[in-house]
């Protein structure tokens, strides 16, 4: 079969996955007695109905994009960084810690914010490298190591919020005492996102795109991911590159956590990672690990998240439908990939 045909077929199968996912969700909606057309319309209106909503999408888009950027590096290296949630959390903790240390000092707020973000990056990186070390030198599969460290990170987070960093007399789900406004990233107009975060995300995409498609280092990561032994024989140390991949992914995760703290919540909250790590894993799978698609697909997923808010308000349906839609999309596209390979023979 010539490549062009193969390409079309491949697209046909992907569209098939998309159609199946929509059919599946429609079926579920019919089961619950909802009108699927109403639901889909409300999802779209809910996501794009106003500039405010688009702004909300961008609030979600920033962390999702950054996380996916990082995950692409580990996926390229053949690693399943399921520990990303914990890395985001530790990033947020480090970042909060720095602001708490300098909050009542005379150090310039801008400097504190920068320090805080750097600390966040370092925190995420440490947690990720821990997973990497467990994998490369301890023989502990990164999935299990990552899961364990996720739990530890969240426990640490909750422990701090309800313990050492709790508000005066009030430990609550709403998190630690919000920082004074000087320690916030400047908001874009009255919206809840900062142009700084957006800029960082765009830079993040550019870096990852260039790293993975244009640099020698990215190519080496790819080689390790595609064939660890062969890469080693060609003179690329796999362990070093795996650790570096974890390091980079951890930096992005930590950055995400830090930006959630200084840019969105202005404090540490219990669910600071907000499930973005897991959602990012799904985005990465959906885009078949191609950096070029991060921005639009992360935007699409973010739009679904925001669009879902309309469902309870307008249709008295639970917003978790968005998650079902996201999940079934990834699932059916994965399944169709398998069907394609069976039909076409392994490409």
């Amino acid at each position: 079969m010539n490549p062009a045909n193969k390409r079309t077929l491949s697209i046909v199968f992907q569209l098939g996955g998309l159609v199946l996912a929509i059919l599946f969700v429609t079926l579920i909606l019919l089961l619950t007695g909802a009108n699927p057309l109403d639901v889909f319309k409300n999802l779209i209106v809910g996501a794009f109905g106003s500039t405010n909503r688009v702004a909300s999408i961008l609030v979600v888009w920033v962390p999702l994009t950054l996380v996916t950027c990082g995950l692409l590096v580990t996926f390229t290296t053949g690693l399943w960084n399921i520990g990303i949630e914990g890395q985001i959390t530790i990033g947020a903790i480090f970042s909060t810690g720095i602001i708490r240390i300098f909050m009542d000092t005379s150090v310039s707020p801008i400097l504190v914010i920068i320090l805080s973000v750097i600390a966040g990056i370092a925190g995420g990186a440490i947690w990720a490298v821990l997973v990497g070390l467990l994998k490369t030198y301890g023989g502990v599969n990164e999935i299990f190591g990552g899961l364990g460290l996720n739990f530890i990170a969240t426990a640490l987070n909750i422990g701090l919020i309800f313990g050492a960093w709790s508000r005066e007399g009030v430990a609550s789900m709403s998190g630690t005492q919000p920082f004074p406004e000087v320690y916030w990233l400047p908001n874009f107009r009255s919206y809840n996102f900062s142009w700084v975060s957006i800029a960082i995300s765009v830079i993040g995409i550019v870096i990852i795109f260039l790293l993975l498609t244009g640099t020698h280092f990215g190519l080496r990561l790819k080689a390790v991911g595609k064939g660890m032994k062969s890469a080693h024989r060609l003179g690329i140390p796999p362990k070093k590159h795996m650790l570096l991949a974890f390091l980079i992914c951890g930096c992005f995760a930590g950055l995400t956590g830090a930006l959630q703290v200084v840019g969105v919540y202005h404090r540490l909250i219990p669910s600071i990672s907000s499930g973005y790590g897991f959602l990012g894993l799904m985005v990465a799978m959906l885009i078949s690990y191609k950096a070029i698609w991060i921005a639009p697909i992360a935007f699409f997923f973010a739009a679904l998240n925001i669009g879902g808010i309309q469902l309870p308000i307008v249709l008295q349906l639970d917003s978790t439908l968005s998650g079902v839609l996201q999940g079934s999309l990834v699932l059916f596209i994965l399944l169709m990939q398998g069907v394609k390979q069976r039909v076409l023979g392994k490409s």
């Binding site: 500039t51 688009v54 979600v60 789900m173 809840n192 498609t213 600071i272 998240n305 309870p312 308000i313």
Partner: protein, 415 residues
Amino acid sequence: MKRKYILFFLSLLVIFSMVLTACQTEEPVVEETEEVVVEETEEVAEPEEFIFGILMVGPYNDKGWSQAHYEAGLYVEENVPGAKMIYLDSVNTADRPGTTAAQLADELVQQGAQLVIFNSDDMKDDAVEFTKNNPEIFVIHASGDSVWEEGMNYQPLANMVNTMGEMEYGKMIAGCDAALHTESGSIGYLGPLINDETRRLAASVYLGASYCWENYLGNDPADLSVRVTWIGFWFNIPGFTEDPTQVANEFIDSGVDVIISGIDTTEALVEARKASSEGTPVLAIPYDFNGACEEAPEVCLGVPYFNWGPAYVRHISSAIDGTWETTFEWLPPNWEDINDLDTTAVGFVMGSAMDEEAKVTLQQFIDELAGGLNLWTGPLNYQDGSTFLADGETATDIQIWYLPQLLEGMEGRSE
């Protein structure tokens, strides 16, 4: 390489075009909502429609805290002409990652809400932020203290009202109820996380229980044990909080025969029901919602509940007719009839597991409270033995609201 750059910028273009199309779709949507509005105003004709929105921290049908607010919203729709409720539930960062209550309040405003109710103490920061940013929108923050001038977190916000029922009375009644029924003299309090509010409620249970234990039953105070075990959250998260089921069972195992719940979920009732059916009689008192006993009436001693309806009706009406005033209110029950849903802020439904004699005694206690009995009267010590109230001294609202420790005589952590 250049080609790849182009691809990249193309993808950026895609985003921006999506944003642009988003802005374009704004118009037809506005039209639609207008249409809806037109239809409805035709129907209701006379009173102008007033949409209020509620943000609920949990599911609207949780048979607990959030449902109490939801029912109050329905009550407002019934009693305020033209009032229409819209709501968003599960408003917390775990269930709605990436959103903040302030942002979701905006969402309600976009759907036409002119007044927004924040129903959780956890939304305090967002409620304040939203109130500041939207001076034209009325805000009710249930359980907050932001506009309490004497309070520790005062912020002058003209468009905000804080309202809270004086659940301390409900908990005292619950404590008394428990004391009247315990055979072993051991009462367990299933606490959520530790803060001012949860401490003062736990302390209220203790005050009510020990008063009834001594004055009605004439027992030795030393024989009464009120033990608090905190799970660390409003509900169970495996791996992070204590498991309330295990806490309830541990109470039962250690001889507790009445469990009072302070958390959002009903493990206390469920475990009491299980233990009773399995031969160990255990009774329980749930929390928050007046229908909470339904889950296990045979072991339910009653439930102290919030009745937000009257307060909401009052504030929403005042918003409609322009008499809105910022205020902090901490509302006691209507002592005439604490279960009069049209007037009371806090109530107590007696459960079907109560015996008749106890019902009479409990009513006597309620009457005493109505008559001015103040259990926050010295001598009372903090748990660490330091003096809270000297003999004859009564506590101020501030002292109660920001109770820093459990009281002497209670078991369990203060922080």
